[in-house]
């Protein structure tokens, strides 16, 4: 029945709806550049969402863990084979994304008889110089976007916009790792609160115009409110932070921050969350 073009468009539309639904419970991912490299942050439940891909490449993901694993493995394979056959400096994030996984994700998305990948992916690439740092995001339909400075993954485009505009507004010209962790967590909370807000808006559907208007004019929560939200959610989950550090010794620049590394970087109110 999908042979007819109209049906196919309809089927793809259904897919979008289905996939959007899948991300509702997901935790946002924040990546931003700081004076020593790039920081990735998320709050995960059960399975890790931040990974090392290559010497200067890191991955953050949202979605189904198995799909994420599959794509993580293809990225690892491509990166290592390329790094061995050519040289580590020829392994670049944009090539891995544009010619590697983005086409695979798009194809799976459009083959309406098969299962799509339930993933949103963020690839962070540490340049030799700071101006070469790159952040790439890929959506479940294979569309990708390259940005500098900051990038996020969120459940909905609205939440994503809120997070990015918050980051753009709050980001100083230069920030230390400690400041970056603080800002990233606040941006994460903006995204997480936006998800919650959208959930409640949907439940109180009867009066959509009032709800919409309220959401648009709602002021940006204060830093304290945002940190309280992180504390509330991160309690039973894992606060994940990873960095790509330009000055790290050796060729591998990725480092996942252990609780003992992370605790001194966190605001006082959050340190207990990491300790247990």
């Amino acid at each position: 029945m999908y042979e007819e073009p109209y049906r196919w468009v309809e089927a793809v539309g259904n897919r979008r709806q289905y996939l959007d639904e899948q991300f509702k419970q997901g935790s946002p991912v924040v990546a931003l550049t700081y004076d020593g490299g790039i920081l990735l942050t998320t709050v995960s439940k059960g399975t890790a969402k931040l990974y090392e891909i290559y010497d200067r490449l890191a991955l953050g993901g949202m979605g189904h863990p198995t799909d994420l694993e599959k794509l993580r493995f293809s990225l690892l394979e491509m990166a290592h084979v390329e790094g061995f056959n050519r040289s580590p400096s020829d392994v670049t994030g944009s090539r891995l994304v544009k010619y590697g996984i983005a086409p695979v994700i798009k194809q799976a998305f459009e083959e309406v008889y098969k299962a799509p990948f339930i993933v949103r992916i963020l690839v962070a690439e540490l340049g030799v110089k700071p101006e070469k740092d790159a952040l790439l995001t890929i959506n479940y339909d294979g569309t990708f976007e390259e940005t500098v400075g900051c990038a996020v993954l969120a459940a909905t485009p609205a939440a994503q916009t809120k997070m990015v505009s918050y980051l753009k507004e709050q980001m100083p010209a230069a920030l230390s790792l400690e400041q970056a962790v603080d800002l990233a967590l606040r941006a994460w909370a903006i995204g997480s609160l936006a998800h919650q807000q959208e959930e409640t808006d949907q439940q109180t559907e009867p009066d959509p115009s009032a709800g919409k208007a309220g959401a648009v004019t709602a002021p940006v929560p204060s830093a304290d409110v945002l940190m309280a939200h992180v504390r509330g959610i991160a309690g039973g989950r894992t606060l994940e932070c990873a960095v790509l550090e330009r000055q790290a010794p050796g060729t591998s620049k990725y480092r996942s921050l252990k609780p003992s590394d992370l605790a001194p970087l966190l605001p006082k109110s959050l340190q207990s969350v990491v300790a247990n």
Partner: protein, 257 residues
Amino acid sequence: MGMQGDFLQLLKEQGYTLGVPASVGTGHALTNATTILAFKYRDGVLVAGDRRATAGNMVMYDRTDKVLEIDRHSVMAIAGVPATAYEMVRVLEHSFKYYRRTQLQELSFDGKLRAISKLLKDNVPAALAGTGAVVPVFAGYDLEQGSAKIYFYDILGAEFEGVEYAVSGSGSPTIRGILHYLNTWGDQPLNRLPEEQAMVQALRLLTSAAEFDSATGGVNREASLYPVIKLITGVGVQTVPDATLKPLYESQVVRYV
């Protein structure tokens, strides 16, 4: 499905082969023109190698680095055919990284030893043909056990643990005896030597090897050419800069020659 996280397997699936086919070689006797050594000292393990590369009786190059870092806590010192040796180091480097990144844990020290054995085994035809023999010394710091370890190999891939020290290359017979003597009847056993004394001994040993083996390069002060010395401790691999070796050589090595 093959072994999880096996990079070499991945390369082979893509048509990669290590070394050259046996039929190419002429079966000449093997020479491993070099000297490499590793011994345990107080803080970890010291690995050193001279810097000469030869082809027959010709000196090809005097700045070779034969002590190659595989990851933060292990190095492979190479004696034998450099092309194959460098290739092996590249394969190992990527294998360990690939394993760590896919399996989300470090490959164990024993796993690393096994990986080297397998590579050497794959390389046997080339080694026997005389086109690719490699006789490495592998040294590293086993973080799980908190101790330094040294292993040496034969060209067929058998691994042997060098409890206190290991040597390889054409200059090694000279210094093997010295190492035994030092370790047994010296002022203190090698594994109690402080860092600086360990470096002095390494310089003296390589200078002795160069004295009796034409294929081993000694110290060339005019060209400020010193051997490569690497120290591996719990913190990681550290290359000793020439600026550190120069005064040690001048104050504690040169007056004995």
